[in-house]
Symmetry: D2
Subunit: 338 residues, 4 copies
């Protein structure tokens, strides 16, 4: 932590800051520059916050020198971590494409979708039983019945399932249905009570990035899960909110190399929600894999025009198969495989 | 709802859209322009979504013509609604300043704060027992004990209390403690399950705007609460996320006249979280009241330097008293009172 | 300047940084913390940039400790500066409302507008002869003829004129027409060659904030003008670009107290371009004055419905008169006058 | 153009709108829905603007149905356009990597850089003689001398040169030095006078996207150039401004498929300015090519640590060579070549 003093700070004000740092059990370094005096607090930074010093007289500002996340940081664990979903590794040499419909509709739809997902060569399946919808008057998901339908369909093709948990009270049901990979959605990235709860269980978790979450906030949200003991965390970028109105969100590919540097955990991309249109998905998927993503979360529906939600962003089965083909070439070009 | 067809759309594609609209029980208007054909669907728009038409061949895009919120809309209720917190009206001629510390720390601190809030002329008190913190390793609030401390302190000065509900499982405790005004925080604005639950109770709710929530999303979130039967909703703007790094968030005063036009419900402002610094609070508070806000949610701490969280954004008691004085003049200038 | 070394930086890497700092003529302070080594460069920071150190092996990042603007900074000049436009002071106790149409259309329109601006009690007039339009096929302004028309109309009521300079080659014409206050528009805030040219003349300049310019970039743009010798600079906030689509831009009132702290120069607000709608102007104007702005730049047209551009954001003469009235009360409440 | 009337609009107000549309020479379609009346104006939309109708009584809002750019639109020209820089095609099957230093420093530096650019297999060279710098006290470029140095160095290896034009008054010098590809920088994307001037010459132009320019504004800026007669325009995305602070800008890869749909002109990417760090460049470059970009604008310096500006974002010659190698694989995977 460094504390930068105002140009006009008095010696007494400097002394007060020094005293406070010592009182908190830290060492002190004072650097007297031409325009400012900078006071360094030596010791475990996580015990200090800028709020402790900013309101003191004579302080211009203070800031941490190191990042505040620990368990999820690359600094704490140099090697890449591989998260296993049943026996499927995410974060290793193999890239995993997780596909399936936006929402569970019927047993027939899910059976068909599962068959198509498996046929395309994907090894995990996604589907929503509980849907976070902006509009309270639109379809809110099939709920618990949807989970059962999903589980049944996926089991026929031995596909681990990925689905979103929105309500803390549903966690037991998720465990009963043996959901293989629990997704925390964009709107719940900082639902800290929910994060704490999934931190206590022994199931892999996908943590989607909030619409306007910084990399730092996202890593801190993962740290909430990790602090509870659950280190099986997969980051999923799904587009961020910007000023642009020509597409729903802006897929942030820069976060891929940056996360790879900051954390040892896997990083996947959701190209369907990012752009919001099926025709954008192939280009965004290729970009994500080329930039180093460990996998994708892609919407596919047996018949997109009839989908009950997000109809315009789902690939059809044929498009998914073609996408898989084209991603193989990209994966090979960077020394990985699908 | 209008559906704009591609320049190259065929008559058959147009027919398919027309048929689908009719099948959904709506009337049709076709406008054949120089460059585009625009198809209007006549009837209750809330039954239709752009997703139903966007994936159809020949469709360029489709969009709603009217807003999707109903109960909260000014169109459904022309007069201003006044929300009563016990006997204190919010949304009428009188402007309400809700003050208090960021977090409940001790009984002594809260007793002192309550006395100071009342002395400054404020009629409601705020305080946090459950704190949403970015960092899992920092103080997370006093929890249920904090509620009891808060209730005890506020009762001595007959102040209704405002506090944040983060976890759905705590709602019963909030009702037992008879929290007068329940705050839904920024990070939970689209925690739809939480919104549905507070929609079922008979208590006023403050709905804070999400960090990057549009006005439309915010109104739709309020509609979630209203749809459950609870119409006692107060909007609270607390700064939005932008590119600017010189201050924590940008207080969006434009939302005040816009919300006043779109909804009949009260609008208040949190100047403390917006700027993030106590020295910005007076200017932002005056701007908010001058722009037509119905009240403020302001942080005040008996001794800001010793506050357990957000120390740098709390006013001290003397500053709160001065702020109240200066706001009186602004209120008078626009024909209201404090 | 401080340079933060990686946790794994070697002594040799630290030595290289130290050597480079000394070679550049600065002193060195080394602070060895628990997790990081922080090297401070002691001396005139403006000679150093992070780019000099960031690419060196072992360096995590480096940053300036003080701001890079000088002449415009409050630190260099503690008192408020008052900019005089002819004999009208901007930045003092009196608040100045600059009103007039978006664009110069005809002599009749400008004569009428000038009469109405003066009648409303405004002491300066605005009007555009050269218009920055997003669309090349729309009206681009009356050009040089527009300047003459504007000058003629304003002189009848002894109003100093404010108009935008877009093209460096027009500067001589502006001086010939004796434009009293030259406006640098939003899109040209970082047109550095234009800034350098207006830095060499002896005329007051309004520097509008770029659509997504940070406070720091804005102050640095002003420094370009000031570095040339022209210190008569007025900052004008006109709304920033965000994710919100319900209004054109978000008026950033927080910038008012922040600029007042960072610079000694006057700050005014353009409420017309910010919101983009005439009905938002009164609320935004009141907010700006309440937050401490030194004036406003407001669009008024004799007959808004017939305006050649931005018709939907201009007040009519009656609305301007009413606005002036309401602003007087706000000004009084904060100890200033109109 | 459609005009949506308020729910409470009177027949007289509707008539006024209809009359105005007819008066402007357009046909009218009226669609009377359940909640709103929508009036369609039939004819050449470019003659109408929302501003013409929005201020009229009873109008809720109005909007264009088609985009306002013409020459640059894919609708006006279905095939991809290839821009030739001397004999090098941009926008065809071959992907072009344009490399070189941020700024021209010395003849030796540029000679060496040119040799390295050619050796790596690049067919065009970039370099800055005039530099747009945020800080007026930092190096502003070598100016005209820099152009001569650049020309001399590039000619030795027969490399067409790309350099930025900031000041309209320098255009003649650029033509004298026979600059092969003129770059309009981010800060000048809406410097309309500059756009008009380069629209009158017969030289290819790179139009960089403004920091917070929408796709629509960017296309309209290109239309300014095209309207003057110069259709040799290349779009260059270089990162947009968002809330994220972990990297300089966010590279917007979604714009690649979107531009490819909206315009027939080539699209390239600048990965160096986007991320701001050399170590991010390979991942961003691969993402851009995988998403369909026609080329890259990459910073390479013979010795990045000694670069006079942007030292931390330049690749060294070895890194450029490796990047070219890795991009070949990506290009092949999508059926193109380097």
């Amino acid at each position: 932590m460094i504390i930068v003093m105002n140009k006009t700070a008095t010696e007494q004000q400097i002394d007060s800051v020094v005293e406070k740092i010592k009182h908190l059990g830290h060492g002190v370094n004072i650097s007297r520059g031409t325009n400012r005096i900078v006071i360094g607090a030596i010791g475990d930074e996580s015990k200090l916050t800028p709020e402790m010093f900013d309101p003191m007289p004579g302080v211009e500002y203070s800031m941490h020198i190191v990042k505040q996340y620990k368990i999820v940081s690359r600094e704490s664990h140099a090697e890449n971590s591989i998260v296993h979903v049943r026996n499927i590794p995410i974060g290793g040499e193999k890239i995993q494409i997780i596909a399936g419909p936006c929402s569970v509709e019927t047993q027939e739809q899910m059976d068909l979708a599962a068959q198509q997902v498996a046929a395309a060569g994907c090894r995990l399946m996604r589907g929503g039983a509980f849907k976070p919808r902006t509009n309270p008057y639109t379809f809110q998901g099939k709920g618990v019945d949807g989970l059962t339908i999903f589980r049944t369909a996926a089991d026929k093709y031995d596909l681990p399932i990925v689905t979103e948990l929105m309500d803390i009270r549903m966690l037991d049901t998720f465990l009963e249905q043996d959901v293989d990979l629990i997704q925390i959605g964009t709107r719940n990235m900082q639902n800290f009570d929910l994060l704490k709860e999934v931190g206590r269980i022994n199931k892999p978790v996908i943590l989607k990035r909030g619409l306007s979450a910084t990399i730092n906030e996202w890593l801190m949200a993962a740290e909430y899960i990790a602090a509870g003991g659950n280190h099986q965390i997969i980051f999923c970028e799904r587009g961020i909110r910007t000023f642009e109105t020509a597409y729903r969100n802006v897929l942030d590919v820069t976060c891929i190399p940056v996360l790879k540097r900051e954390t040892h955990l896997p990083v996947i991309i959701d190209p369907s929600h990012a752009g919001g249109k099926a025709w954008m998905v192939p280009a965004l998927s290729r970009a994500a894999i080329a930039a180093g993503a460990d996998g994708l979360l892609v919407e596919m529906h047996p018949n997109p025009c009839d989908a009950w939600c997000d109809a315009d962003q789902a690939l059809n089965p044929q498009e998914l198969t073609e996408l898989m083909q084209s991603l193989k070439g990209i994966a090979n070009a960077i020394g990985r495989s699908l």
